[in-house]
């Protein structure tokens, strides 16, 4: 066996698998998105954008991402800083913080539903404390804001840990000597964080943010569980086109739009958080 060919040969099965089960369906979907009854057309996109729900779904999805991701980033940085400085119990803290990671998004949605539901924990607590006389309907179709807040809370609770884990790993890669040098040369804790940790953490921040933003645009099950159709989001609409309205072509167009947004943001963060080769650790 020639040594040079071996790695490629070993990669072959995985590559083939991805081609058959990912690339090929993807091409099919892309094809469906730009055709109808075999003829090339952009009508699918027009239909999608023309729906009265479309502006609302785009707005809800972007707004959710714009609120949830920054909050998660700040919280993940805070948690990671604390965890990184622990001398004992570090892994225990990591495991506890990471528990929500092991729960599927639908389950996460259901857990928060159990909290916010009319017969849920929150209502029970409030009525036992005597704060309210009547149980409140937090997630009714009239209270869009509460639904939005509940979804945001569930998303923050569910997916902050993934960012934290990436950031903790990144912090572990920064040599201690840089902090000591910064300390000797006059930087207090906050300055050390801003001038040393953040810049040297850029590769990890890049990974964490991109991963999280992509997931934010794919938000679906949590919204479905907490808001039903009261808080339409892009992924939910794609589902709707496919299964409720039985129009696979428009559903494909909608899926491509989500992909385009994800790629756009990925490229944006790759560019903004780029570390020049000469400035790496």
């Amino acid at each position: 066996m020639h040594g040079k060919a071996l790695p490629y040969l070993l990669l072959m099965p995985a590559t083939l698998f991805l081609c058959v089960f990912f690339l090929y369906p993807f091409v099919l979907v892309a094809f469906e998105a730009v055709t109808r009854d075999g003829a090339f057309t952009l009508d699918n996109f027009r239909t999608m954008a023309g729906s009265w729900k479309f502006p609302v779904t785009v707005r809800n999805t972007l707004l959710l991402a714009a609120i949830v991701v920054p909050i998660q980033l700040v919280m993940a940085l805070l948690m990671a800083s604390v965890v990184s400085q622990l001398e004992t119990g570090r892994s225990a803290a990591l495991y506890i913080f990471a528990i929500p990671l092991g729960i599927s998004d639908l389950a996460a949605g259901l857990i928060w539903l159990a909290i916010f539901d009319q017969s849920g924990f929150l209502n029970t607590l409030l009525s036992h404390l005597g704060v309210v006389d009547r149980r409140i309907m937090f997630l009714g179709y009239q209270s869009k804001l509460t639904i939005f807040i509940a979804v945001a809370l569930a998303e923050i609770w569910r997916a902050t840990a993934i960012m934290m884990v990436i950031i903790v790993a990144g912090m572990g890669l920064i040599p201690k000597e840089y902090y000591e040098a910064a300390e000797v040369f006059g930087a207090g804790p906050w300055k050390r964080f801003v001038r040393i940790t953040l810049p040297l953490l850029r590769p990890s921040l890049q990974t964490a943010i991109i991963l999280r933003v992509i997931l934010a645009f794919e938000v679906f099950a949590v919204v479905a569980a907490l808001g039903g159709t009261n808080l339409p989001v892009l992924m939910g609409e794609t589902y709707n086109w496919q299964f409720t309205l039985q129009d696979r072509n428009v559903a494909a167009a909608s899926a491509l739009l989500i992909l385009a947004i994800s790629i756009g943001f990925t490229l944006f963060f790759l560019r903004v958080l780029r570390v020049p080769k000469e400035a790496r650790i």
Binding site: P175, E177, Y178, E180, A181, A182, E183, V184, F185, G186, A187, G188, K191, R195, I196, P199, L200, R202, V275, P276, K277, E278, A279, R280, I281
Partner: protein, 346 residues
């Protein structure tokens, strides 16, 4: 004025004692070298002065101010780290400027100071580069420039030359000495390299197992070691030690030679002599030649004396042969005596 006083400083890590009650006074503008083998506590002591480590007990004073409770940035110090710790995400200019920016100096002052120290360290052409584009020697220069730019009262150096190759180390050593003398700062310099210590120091503090064994000028440390460890650690080859037996009051028998020595009530003490302080002649210690190493300026002869190894540095034209019986006469004023129990000089 930045004299440093270390008073009764001890450091324990769990059950391990890294430093036992160390006392050391360093004068203003003095160049003090902490010398010792790895694990002797020298770096711990330096880090305690820097404020990167908290002493378990004792006090640190810099310039008449007690600093052991202050964070590093309030101690008026600058430091050069063993691995340089040149920030990879900043240019050389911003690295040197780092401390000045933390002090919120006006931009004009920052530029003036950075340019001046860069010129001093011959790195003015590298100011726009990043650490990843520099060689080890250049990074070292950046680290020193960053410390000098602070115009600190005290510069602390933790084995700054140990990562450089031999030739570069020689060059940087001479340059450091010049630059630091001109900067009029007090310097504490940690090294395990005795040649570096001898060539740089105003005074050397020799450390061993968490204690300062001797703190004196390089020549004094070399010629009059205060303890057996200092004699065996400093000098290449090290000092020779031979057991001595009492033959009378202040008279000792050493390898077939009777020598006047200290008056002691002990029966056995140790005789010590540097390899270069013996002459081959008709009188002296009975020695059998084992190995001869001609080194050019002189010849290193390893002999058997009383069953132990004994190294002598003889003139390069001395004609000795392996197996030959020699008489090595110690220079009377260069003989040192040690107590074998306390290992201190007598």
């Amino acid at each position: 004025m930045a004299e440093i006083a270390i008073k009764g400083v001890a450091k324990r890590f769990g059950g391990f004692t890294a430093l036992h009650q160390v006392d050391l006074a360093i004068a203003d503008q003095e160049f003090m070298v902490l010398l010792g083998a790895s694990g002797c506590g020298k770096t711990t002591l330096l880090r305690i002065v820097a404020g990167l480590e908290t002493p378990s007990q004792g006090e640190v004073w810099i310039g008449g101010r007690r600093v052991d409770h202050l964070p590093p940035r309030e101690r008026g110090i600058a430091m050069v780290f063993q691995n340089y710790a040149v920030f990879p995400h900043l240019t050389v200019f911003e690295n040197i400027a780092f401390g000045l920016r933390m002090k919120k100096l006006p931009q004009a002052d920052v530029e003036r100071r950075v340019n001046r120290t860069a010129e001093l360290m011959h790195i003015e052409q590298l100011l726009k580069r990043y650490s990843g584009q520099l060689s080890g020697g250049q990074r070292q220069r950046v680290a020193v420039a960053r410390a000098l730019a602070m115009e600190p009262d005290v510069i602390l150096m933790d084995e700054p030359l140990s990562n450089l190759d031999a030739l570069l180390r020689l060059e940087m050593r001479a340059e450091l000495k010049g630059v630091l003398a001109a900067s009029k700062t007090t310097t504490i310099y940690v090294t395990h390299d005795q040649v570096e210590a001898m060539s740089l120091a105003d005074r050397i503090a020799v450390m061993h197992q968490g204690r300062i064994v001797q703190a004196a000028s390089p020549v004094e440390v070399y010629r009059n070691p205060a303890a057996r460890f200092v004699g065996s650690f400093i000098g290449n080859p090290p000092m020779n030690f031979i057991p001595a037996t009492k033959t009378g009051n202040g008279s000792w028998s050493v390898a077939g030679l009777t020598l006047p020595g200290p008056k002691s009530d002990k029966q056995r003490i140790e005789f010590a002599i540097r390899p270069e302080d013996v002459d081959a002649g008709s009188e002296g210690l009975h020695a059998t030649v084992r190995v001869i190493e001609p080194l050019g300026p002189h010849t290193l002869v390893t002999c058997d004396v009383e069953g132990g190894l004994f190294r002598a540095i003889l003139e390069s034209n001395a004609s000795v042969k392996v197996g030959e019986q020699l008489r090595l006469a110690p220079k009377a004023d260069r003989i040192r005596w040690f107590d074998p129990e306390t290992t201190n000089a007598l």
